[in-house]
């Protein structure tokens, strides 16, 4: 118990230097955290096994990307995760667990860390566009006990997509494979996707295979923020065909 000689420089007392000098303490913390980061995070960038090779994952279309920006802007991630964990109960409820490949074009990813509402990684195709519209306007009109806030202004705010091409250009610097052609046709692609066949649907689908295209409001020439958000929600979790995905081959 007694510790009467703290100044004898035995190894057990060397930590005193950290405790008595805040600058050295800060440097020590930085070193410890960087080692953790270097060892655990850095390899994820070069290890090939980090991201599975799967078919079907494509970059977001301009309209979906605009919807994603609204999702981020409104802070939906504060209540919704987009990450089905490989746990039995989650797979039972939400569907196949999320793959890293499914969010490889997300910058930043929307895995989230809090579930006040349910996980929505696989919400695409679970509801109709009309349900999303009702639900976004006033969640309690369809789910009486819901505590989700309403977002009624989204369907009243015209979508501003003038700058979506610039967003795509930035993402392409971060490694999302947007071609010059995709960036150049961003604005017209957004309109095409939100309209029932307007003549350019086929060439749009060549750039963004399997995207939903329907009259989300585009035919009246009035795409709103709600339309973009719905295009994004309807895509979530639908890109990988899990009938073709081999669980066992990708165990790692």
């Amino acid at each position: 118990m007694a510790n009467l000689t703290p100044h004898k420089p035995s190894l057990w007392h060397r930590h005193a230097i950290f405790e008595k000098n805040s600058i050295i303490l800060i440097i020590g913390i930085l070193v410890a955290i960087s080692i953790g980061g270097l060892v655990e995070v850095l390899p994820l960038f070069y290890l090939k096994s980090t991201i599975e090779t799967v078919e079907g994952v494509r970059p977001y279309s301009p309209l979906e990307l605009a919807g994603r920006n609204i999702y981020v802007r409104e802070g939906c991630y504060n209540c919704h995760s987009q990450m089905v964990r490989p746990l039995r109960d989650e797979v039972e409820r939400y569907g196949h667990y999320s793959l890293a490949a499914e969010s490889m074009y997300d910058h930043p990813f929307q895995w989230g860390s809090k579930r006040t509402g349910p996980d929505i990684a696989r919400v695409g195709g679970k509801y109709s566009d009309d349900w999303h519209r009702d639900h976004l306007r006033n969640p309690r009109s369809v789910v009486p006990a819901s505590i989700m806030p309403g977002y009624p202004w989204l369907e009243q705010t015209p979508l501003n997509i003038a700058h979506i091409g610039e967003d795509m250009a930035v993402l392409s610097v971060e490694g999302v494979p947007y071609s010059q052609e995709m960036i150049a046709s961003a604005v017209s692609d957004a309109k095409t996707q939100g309209s029932a066949d307007d003549g350019s649907t086929a060439s749009f689908l060549k750039r963004y295979p399997k995207a939903i295209t329907r009259d989300l409001g585009g035919n009246g020439g009035k795409l709103t923020e709600a339309d973009a958000l719905i295009a994004y929600l309807q895509l979530l979790g639908t890109q990988v065909d899990f009938k073709l995905y081999d669980d066992k081959a990708n165990i790692r």
């Binding site: 007694a2 746990l87 009309d130």
Partner: protein, 293 residues
């Protein structure tokens, strides 16, 4: 100021001070409790063990797999297989036995209803309500008023293929024309038709309602789907208009809105999301809610 040369000892002479002295206030250098220190050392030893048995350290081309060879993805596959084996015999029976026979076998019926109720809470209640009571535009499933048919097989088909769900090629389809939006009927004609629709179920109509015109328009434009007397037609999902059950509502304004916009509600096709025993269980669950035919 600090006195670095000599260690002060507290009056009880148990521990020394750190040597700091702030205006006469000194800090005792009490060591951490031993139990705390040992717990701390144990966590370090535990972490080392963890590194050895579980996947931990990234290397140049791979990572240390750990002597247990455990992975979360393998674990979940095993857990799901375990679940399948647990439910296996019952699920296998649900899969092979006909819907009618499931209802006739008490054991299968209670299993299907339990599985159906669980799946309903997750997948269906946001649209149809927790008690399947429905909302405006989303039908009540407890009553015996069916849009597309209330037999086990009809319900099963509805669930499999969805309603107006384009991603499924066998989906149930039909569209009520947008009589107002497309200019097929004039506003006064729509008003007359709406009054006539209300009269079909005995609801009061406005004093100046032109029911004659309404009836004529109804026969010409609506009867093909809704039936001569508004009895509905399940082949095209056209609701009965001569009863007290409404999908959207009996108010004249709501009816006018329906005639103006037309269209129809959408429901996802569940064969794309749920496996076949679950869909069969759901069909049995909905059928036994009260209105099954």
């Amino acid at each position: 100021m600090t006195n670095q040369t000599e260690t002060n000892v507290d009056p009880r002479k148990i521990v020394g001070t750190t040597g700091h002295d702030w205006d006469g206030i000194e800090e005792l250098n009490t060591p951490l409790p031993r139990w705390w220190l040992w717990t701390f050392y144990l966590t370090i030893i535990w972490a080392l063990g963890y590194w050895v048995v579980y996947p931990a350290i990234p290397l140049a081309t791979s990572f240390t797999k750990g002597v247990f060879g455990w992975t979360s993805r393998e674990q979940v596959v095993k857990d799901l297989e375990g679940l399948k084996n647990l439910r296996g015999p019952m699920t296998a029976k649900i899969e092979t036995v006909s819907l009618q026979d499931i209802e006739k076998t008490p054991e299968l019926l209670s299993f299907a209803r339990a599985q159906g109720a669980a799946a309903f809470a997750v997948n269906c209640s946001p649209c149809h309500g927790a008690g399947a009571q429905g909302f405006k535009g989303y039908p009540n499933l407890n009553d015996d008023d069916w849009l597309w048919g209330g037999s086990l097989d009809a319900i099963h088909t509805t669930l499999q293929n969805g309603i107006r769900w384009d991603a499924n090629k066998d989906t149930r389809t039909s569209m009520m024309p947008a009589f107002g939006k497309e200019g097929l009927l004039k506003p006064n004609e729509i008003s007359a038709a709406a009054d006539y629709v209300r009269s079909l179920s005995g609801l009061p109509t406005e004093k100046d309602a032109d029911l004659k015109l309404g009836q004529k328009l109804f026969t010409e434009n609506c009867a093909a789907c809704h039936g001569e007397n508004g009895e509905g037609n399940q082949d095209v999902g056209a609701p009965k208009l001569n009863d007290k059950v409404w999908l959207y509502g009996p108010e004249k304004a709501t009816i006018i809105e329906r005639i103006t916009l037309g269209g129809g509600g959408q429901m996802p096709a569940w064969s794309q999301r749920l496996d076949s025993p679950t869909i069969k269980s759901l069909a049995v669950y909905v059928h036994t809610l009260g209105g099954g035919q």
